[in-house]
């Protein structure tokens, strides 16, 4: 009965709100929640949990529809800005970041304009297709060009601005433009049909996706269950399988050492935050043996060749250095 009501409610309300606009693609399942998600999530979300109704479109269009009362339970955006704005206005509950992405250039397989790098996009006559700046991917595109000092020269070659990333990809696949900016995850859905060119790491925008329960949702428990599923180990593994990047691990910090001085071989307890991913600990550059006790505590053995100086903790997310020196006693 609940399932029937759910389907009926979605159908009626979907009709009222014109679903998610002309560019939106909807997939309906037999039960679960209604997820309004960025177009770049078209393939991965049903792979994580197909028991839901999905509407995929440009994040900005979805945000507008949700604000206007569209029947979504979860909003998943290709940025953190839109969910934060909706949270501030009470439209959604507190958003959580659930994945990251990178931007790439795609060119038709034949690459008629001979594009090899971002710099080639400023050549006269190159036809570039992008998403409009209101869509996250369009905004990220402009960020890249700004960061590389190429906005005016490359912008002069824009021939079309689309409402979502998948439209850019399709147009490049069909050869309707020489190059376009899309997410790497979208590009990988057409590998073999388009050629992917890297955007330099030093110019990459920070592309983080955030999702939130819609405040008006009548199905909040199920909505939270969907979010939990995306954030789960299995959900994150599926995101990675589809080319998305893991949520950035927070940088470690050091707050306290159990002792300020000691002989080589003794054990020192280090307190801090985000210590789970620690890969190395050094005493003024001298590597030390250590054990991760918890995310807030390490046990370290002072190395034989340790020198008096700062203790450094390194994880894939970054490095923390103690503000006070550790004095070696010999």
């Amino acid at each position: 009965m609940r399932y029937i009501l759910g389907v009926l409610a979605f159908a009626v309300l979907g009709a009222c709100f014109g679903a998610t606009g002309a560019a939106a693609k909807s997939t309906r399942a037999q039960a679960g929640v209604t997820v309004y998600a960025a177009a770049s999530l078209t393939d991965v979300f049903p792979a994580i949990d197909k028991g839901n109704s999905f509407s995929f479109a440009g994040s900005n269009a979805l945000a507008t529809q949700i604000t206007n009362g569209a029947p979504a339970d979860v909003f998943a955006s290709a940025n953190t800005t839109l969910p934060a704005q909706l949270f501030a206005s009470g439209v959604v509950e507190k958003p959580v970041v659930f994945t990251r992405n990178t931007l790439v250039i795609v060119v038709p397989k034949a690459n008629p304009a001979g594009i090899k790098s971002v710099y080639d996009l400023s050549k006269p006559g190159v036809k570039i297709d992008v998403a409009n700046s209101a869509v996250p991917v369009g905004s990220y595109t402009l960020q890249v060009l700004d960061q590389m000092g190429l906005r005016s020269s490359v912008g002069a070659n824009f021939v079309s601005q689309e409402t979502d990333v998948r439209t850019v990809l399709t147009k490049i696949q069909l050869g309707q433009a020489d190059a376009g900016f899309v997410y790497s995850t979208d590009a990988h859905t057409l590998l073999g049909q388009v050629t992917v060119i890297k955007v330099p790491a030093w110019a990459q925008p920070k592309i983080a996706y955030a999702m939130a329960i819609v405040a008006r949702s009548q199905n909040k428990a199920a909505a939270q269950a969907f979010i939990d599923k995306v954030l789960s180990k299995q959900g994150q593994a599926t995101m990675l399988k589809y080319g998305f990047l893991p949520i950035t691990a927070p940088v470690p910090t050091i707050t306290k050492l159990s002792i300020a001085k000691g002989k080589p071989g003794i054990s020192v307890s280090l307190s801090g935050t985000n210590l789970n991913g620690t890969t190395s600990v050094t005493f003024k550059g001298v590597p030390a043996r250590f054990k991760v006790v918890s995310g807030t505590k390490l046990t370290i053995i002072v190395p034989v060749k340790a020198k008096t100086g700062a203790i450094t903790v390194t994880s894939p997310a970054g490095t923390a250095t103690s503000t006070k020196s550790f004095t070696i006693i010999r």
């Binding site: 710099y119 890297k198 790491a201 030093w202 894939p316």
Partner: protein, 197 residues
Amino acid sequence: MTRRQLFSRGAQGGAVLLVAGTSLAQFADDAAADPLSTADLAYGRLLVGAELLASDFYTRAVAASNSSPSVMKYLKRAYANEQEHYRSVAGILSDAGVTPAVSSDIDYMYPRGAFASQASILKLAQQLETIMLGTYLGAVGGMQSGSFKQGLAQIAASEAQHLSYMWTKNGLKAFNAAFPAALTIDQASAAMDAFTS
């Protein structure tokens, strides 16, 4: 270290070599006062990315703990140099109101076995230092603001010292090119692409 400090420091360090009355400190004031062009900001971002790559490489090379004491000592010194360079070029951006990238903003990729032995570390170090030197030599000519030329040239000289060490350790003759190759910004960016994403 801020932009102003970078160039003030350059002025102080070079004072004994310069004729009286030459004021490099004035460049520091100019550097701090001049708004940067978008092209120069782009160069600043590239250099920050290059320094983050070099720092990450040396961090891993030291952590591998498989080099001789003398090589290990040099790797640590090179790491310290790159960190100081990073603070300087990051200062160019932060003084201009731009947040510089940090290590966690970039994913690094190295060839398989890059840190498996001292030999593999030195081989890759030579490749990276060639890129670093070319990048800074290109920046000396490529950045529009004249205020940065001395500081950039000083960093280029430091990278050349690293490269020379790697050459000799790899059994080659000491680096002795009269005119080492400068990389344009797109060439430098493409060279870094092999190691970053």
